[in-house]
Amino acid sequence: MTILRAKGYDWRSTAFHAVTLAATALIVLAVIVIIGDIVWHGAKQVSWHFVTGGTKEGMFDAKTAGVFPMIFGTLALVLLMTVGVVPVGVITAVYLTEYAKSLSPITRIIRSAINNLAGVPSIVFGLFGLGFFVQFVGGGLDQMFYGGELHYRKPALIWAAATMAIMTLPVVIVATEEALRAVPNGLREASLALGATKLKTIWKIVLPEALPGVLTGAILAVGRGAGEVAPIMFTGAAYYLAHLPTNWTDQFMHLGYHVFVLSTQSPDIERTKPILYGSVLVLLLVTFLLNLTGVLVRAKIRSRLRHG
């Protein structure tokens, strides 16, 4: 029975197994350290007062400072951004998968443009937003409707949201395209063979079936949009505001930008450290809750698709 005897210890397999394990352990460790550190230091700061309070008594005092205006601004920004990015992204994806000839050079150029857009550093989007939305579009609106009086040619919630929407557009397009491609062709054929127009087929069959994938795109966009600071620095986020924004032309405070401000502008870094940790923890929680909402909505739609 010589066949059954092992040819010696296979140390290569064991070593490789260990390497894969170590690589995974590295990322797990990093996550634990980051989250652990933030929760450990931040939990002490996060209280009802911190979450609902403002900065009336000074923004650098750990005892009195709150982050409600920043939570409000972050949510408003994300909401406006989503309202802008999802329709535009979905319509673009519909064009690319349902109408464009997939092998034509123009389609290929559009696709690579979208991929390149995803790779542009976020600070570039910030400057683009300042130049295009604030100066050009905002300035144009003021010229056209207000006789040059200053209404739109300034950093504002709407311009920050627009900039963020442009930045997250590729995410929504790519996710939607994937979802549209996953819709079986048989469903399109069945609909067309019943005498449905292409428009009706897309609207009644293809898009509803792709909806969970569209939501995945929206969730990813929200995740990115809630945390990015660079695109909104020049286009709408404010260092300090006494009041909440009431109009989309107002500036706003933002959790991510607040973290940046606290860590670079504070007169006494040790005193502001608890607020810094608290703000980061709240930012993580807000992002997590936004994602959770998206995931739950998606699960609900999925089960409705499956069970009629």
């Binding site: 019943l194 069970h307 009629g308």
Partner: protein, 252 residues
Amino acid sequence: MDKPIIQITDANFWYGAKQALFDVNVSIMPHQTTAFIGPSGCGKSTLLRCLNRMNDLILGTRVTGRIAFNDHDVNAPDVDVIELRKQIGMVFQKSNPFPKSVFDNVAYGLRIQGMTDKTELETRVVKSLKKAALWEEVKDRLHESALMMSGGQQQRLCIARAIAVEPEIILMDEPCSALDPTATAKIEELIQDLEKDYTIIIVTHNMQQAARCSDYTAFFYLGRLIEFDATNKIFTNPTNKQTEDYVTGRFG
């Protein structure tokens, strides 16, 4: 003898540079079942999809010759392809119910035509499900997802869905190739019932199926129509040697 409902004259068809049909001539008689048979790649499905212009969806296809439906060329520029497909329904090889309820599947074709009246929709859905011999099995679960049904039921649902818009012709592209023998038998039985109200053209790989449920059979080979005759004749006394070899299972 009746006038043919479909008259195919010198049909040629290309996928890009590759020719798939060569000078095909076939007449389809109303209220008869015609089977298209032949080995894979012989052009039978291609011809079927020319009839309701499903090939329009594939880039770079080209068709010449005349395919007349009730004396009107389906490829004529004045033809509304949407209208054409309402009159020539189709059932596909892989059953493709929409991820909707049984009811909504059958009602789909009616709704996109603008039918909104609830009782009218209900009447038509019930009638179609009965015609497709599915009513008894689904009457208590009309609002459950169609995806929960068995493969054979799904295929009969697709037939009901096609029937609902009241076409004149139903095209069936290998409707049983993914089904077990019991489900297949049910569909074959159904085809014979449907013949009263519709003209059926069925593409099949299954010789016995063609023999059992069709009145006419067209045998294709390499894009050419080899023989077209009464099914009886094709299976018992074919004129052509290739036809004989194929139907007796010597090649294909």
